[in-house]
Amino acid sequence: MGFFSTIFGFLGFGVGVSAGLVIGYYLFIYFQPIDVKDPIVRRLVEHGSHDLHRLLPEMPFWVKNPDYDRIDWLNRFIQLMWPYLDKAICRTAKNIAAPIIAEQSPKYKIESVEFESLTLGSLPPTFQGIKVYLTEEKELIMEPFLKWAGNPNITVAVKAYGLKATVQVVDLQIFAQPRITLKPLVPSFPCFANIFVTLMEKPYVDFGLKLFGADLMSIPGLYRFVQELIKDQVANMYLWPKTLDVQILDPAKAAKKPVGILHVKVLRATKLRKKDLLGGADPYVKLKLTESKAPSKKTAVRRNNLNPEWNEEFSMVVKDPETQALEILVYDWEQVGKHEKMGMNVVPLKELPPDEATVKTLDIFKNMDPNDVQNDKMRGKIEVELTYKPFKEEDMPHNAENLGEVQKAPEGTPSGGGLLVVIVHEAQDVEGKHHTNPYVRINFKGEERKTKQLKKSRDPRWEEEFTFTLGEPPIKERMHVEVCSTSSRIGLLHPKETLGYVDIGLADVVTNKRINEKFHLIDSKNGRLQIELQWRTS
């Protein structure tokens, strides 16, 4: 008897609980829904001390840490833009979702899926400070602290089998500290080739998920479980060292790497116009590629000759054959004073067939303006032989994908040995007593290499690369690097001086493969020299 009574008791309990839940649902949740409200933001001054204590753990980083910067102006900007962003994002989301829903819903026998409401709310994401890191590499690193405690209201109504279910997401909160790296920096807008985003810590996520109006996330325990699940999912994708890459530019193209070589042979000129008062002229030819920073090439001067022969060969590095052009300028050499231009012409590189020598006889003009009357006069002709040799695919340096990584040494390097690459980047605060026209001299194993000289610059940038092929790793060697300055002014007591030097032990380079460091110069006040060393082995 007691046994049956217990069974009935349980049965009754089961039925009772179901009924109770249903009645309770209607009583407490269905008839008294908690609406999504705009939170009332009171001014801080009106808060009591209890509330202020609550605020302390959320204090922005820029208040607590001096290495974070305040970016409230950006917060303000986003806040003003938010209503527009909200509308735009929601509309885009609806447009993207609509075809997917239309395609998927018949499969699951769902009649319709509708957004009953879709808004991101009135509260925009905020940045509670930003921190930037400075490195020697060509990159920008910043870490904003993003906090979005919003009040979005996303309600999806699903109709199936004549029933309607609503799922509602409210009060989404995301706190994250992404690290945004822009690299490599390139000399064409927007000045970086890739964006890398990674999360330094697991993000904090919280939200309310309402099914039929009941917030499932309020069930004790479930919320924590779901939160951990989401965190882990995100962490799997983007937690450091995993990154999200967004390519903006093709780095190889943007960095303007050389793509070919132009060989120019200046043959002769004929019937040049007389320039000097006595005699004819002393012509020489200057060659220059447009959009190139390389110094122009000059032929020898043919004295007192209006039909000079040169037969001199030059080669120039081409970076973009589509837009670059070869400028040929004929000058008249003078003992004193300015060398006078006798005429010029321009050959666009795209007119040249690749890998084929073409001899061109060009008229020379006063300038390249076709309307200038002065160009009607005969100034003579110049004959040049031009060959454009594009690099073959396999010659192209493949460092596009793995920038910053050390390349393999080229073939022909002795086994056990390798290639020592020295890249002289830049110097800061170098100053000479008498003049500051700095260049860098590298002394290694009796070999000497020099960068080009920069005029009057205390913060010179060279970006020049030198290579030394070595039979064995230079574990015990040192490299002497010196910043020098010379002045060509006549009558100067100190035509040459040293602005500072540094001796670099190469053992570290061999073990690390690559070192990029700013060295403090010896015998210099504040001078620093940034040098990158690479040890490439096969």
Partner: protein, 509 residues
């Protein structure tokens, strides 16, 4: 029995569970809302808030200037600058050269960059302020300072042949850039950006000019001329209310709202001047008046010879684009052989004018509008003008816009035909406004002999000053200037007649 009690218990339990869930919902909901409010609050803290939270001992690194500091941005800017400079050089060359062409002063046939490198020093952003004065617009003010070491060489061709390389050194720019973002409902949510330099504080752009291998003083007036060109470009293009409108994101948006357009007509009658300064050795000054709102649209009265109290009574109509910030500028010149001398300048802010009522104003002439440059306090006389302002209605505005376009096109055509050297030339004798030197050979003298003479004179002077090698180059420059000048003076007459018909609309009274 068991069934009933069980059901009852279960029922109670079920209801209690729901009540509990509801309580939890309410609790969690409230917690989230409070947090949201807190985060929002902390995103825009001010000094008082912080003192309330932290007490009086704020951390030392916190300050609240009007323009928020952006140290992090400056650090990044320094790093990326060499790359930005490289990328920007090409863009600047492309966009500024046509501008220089447009505003090129007469007497110079070509003004181009021969070298443009922005240097190693990055600009510094002193601060950023964001505000919104109008629905749907965000105003961002950027306080910019750039004491750079750019290496800019201008190839100035004073005539058809000579090219004088002029180096621009020690550039310093202090200005507040205002960017107005027009918001839109489509991604990227910004339909257009308006960029201008704030007039207050006045943009300061300092630089020194150096002729390569010589000194600028050898060609008097050249540096004034370049100064004037730079100034005209800045005040007429960039300085508020003038602005550049950049549409963004390919959204077809009507940006005409944002463009600067005629809002009213200023009718000026230049009546008379009193007690002008005598600048001539023999006789008295030959004064005339130049009136403008924008330097691009200058109008000029006739010259009254040998008179220090001239009466003109000539009426002109000028277009105003922004009554609040623009001013009417009145300049009095003395016509002279060679270069015309400025007798004085006066300014009348349009904001002071009442609509549709003519009012007589007696303005005191000053040596310069830049108060810092004024050295002598001598009385320069007064000029009397009668001004009335008429605000355009829609149709008048459109008509005025059409007119303006036509005038500019007509000038462009003249320029292409080679009748005038630049759009600024449309004002006859504009050369005199921008100063001496090349203007000296370019003004309105008929005889070519005298011109070549003066050119040679300048050249000889330089040789005399003893820059052996340099001198020879510059002598050539001087000579060529002479040729150019004679050419120009030959074309003065057609410019004059065009002036009468097109540019000034003189309403003879």
């Amino acid at each position: 029995m068991g069934l009933i009690s069980g059901m009852f218990m279960g029922f109670l339990f079920g209801i209690a569970l729901m009540a509990g869930l509801r309580e939890m919902m309410r609790y969690r909901g409230r917690k989230r809302i409070t947090k949201a409010a807190d985060i929002k609050l902390l995103s825009s803290l001010n000094r008082d808030d912080l003192i309330k939270i932290c007490g009086e001992n704020l951390p030392e690194w916190i300050s609240f200037p009007v323009f928020e500091q952006v140290k992090w941005m400056n650090k990044q800017l320094n790093k990326i600058w060499p790359f930005v400079a490289d990328a920007a050089e090409a863009v600047i060359k492309e966009s500024v050269e046509p501008l220089l062409e447009e505003y090129r002063p007469p007497g110079i046939t070509s003004l181009k960059f021969s070298k443009l490198s922005l240097g190693t020093v990055a600009p510094k952003i002193e601060g950023i302020r964001v505000q919104s004065l109008k629905q749907g617009q965000i105003i961002m003010d950027i306080d910019l300072r750039w004491g750079g070491d750019p290496d800019i060489s201008l190839a100035v061709e004073a005539a058809l042949v000579a090219s004088i390389p002029i180096q621009l050194k020690d550039l310093q720019v202090f200005t507040v850039v205002r960017a107005i973002f027009q918001l839109a409902d489509e991604i990227p949510c910004i339909s257009a950006v308006v960029i201008a330099l704030l007039a207050e504080p006045k943009p300061r752009i300092d630089y020194t000019l150096k002729a390569v291998g010589g000194s600028l003083t050898a060609i008097p007036g050249l540096s004034d001329m370049i100064d004037d060109t730079v100034n005209s470009i800045i005040t007429d293009m960039l300085q508020w209310p003038h602005r550049i409108v950049v549409p963004i994101g390919g959204i077809p948006v009507d940006t005409s709202e944002l463009e600067l357009k005629p809002v009213g007509k200023v009718t000026v009658t230049v009546m008379k001047a009193n007690e002008l300064k005598n600048k001539e050795l023999i006789g008295k000054s030959d004064p005339y008046v130049v009136v403008y709102v924008r330097p691009l649209f200058k109008v000029k009265t006739k010259v009254i010879e040998n008179n220090l109290n001239p009466v003109w009574n000539q009426t002109f109509e000028l277009i105003a684009e922004d009554k609040e910030t623009q001013s009417l500028i009145v300049e009095v010149f003395d016509e002279d052989i060679g270069q015309d001398k400025r007798l004085g300048i006066a300014k009348l802010p349009l904001a002071e004018l009442e609509a549709d009522t003519a009012k007589e104003n007696e303005l005191r002439l000053l040596p310069s509008l830049d108060m810092l440059k004024i050295k002598d306090k001598k009385d320069r006389g007064t000029v009397t003008i009668q001004v009335s302002y008429h605000e355009f209605n829609k149709e008048e505005q459109l008509a005025a816009l059409e007119d303006e376009k036509k005038t500019l096109e007509a000038r462009k055509k003249l320029k292409e035909d080679g009748v005038i050297g630049s759009t600024m030339d449309a004002l006859d004798d504009a050369a005199s406004i921008v100063g001496s030197g090349v203007g000296m050979v370019g003004a309105g003298i008929g005889t070519g002999v005298g011109l070549v003479g003066s050119g040679l004179g300048a050249g000889a002077g330089i040789v005399g000053s003893g820059f052996g090698a340099v001198g020879s180059g510059l002598t050539k420059a001087g000579k060529f200037m002479g040729f150019g000048g004679s050419k120009r003076s030959g074309s003065t007459t057609p410019v004059n007649s065009i002036q009468e018909n097109e540019g000034a609309k003189p309403l003879q009274t």
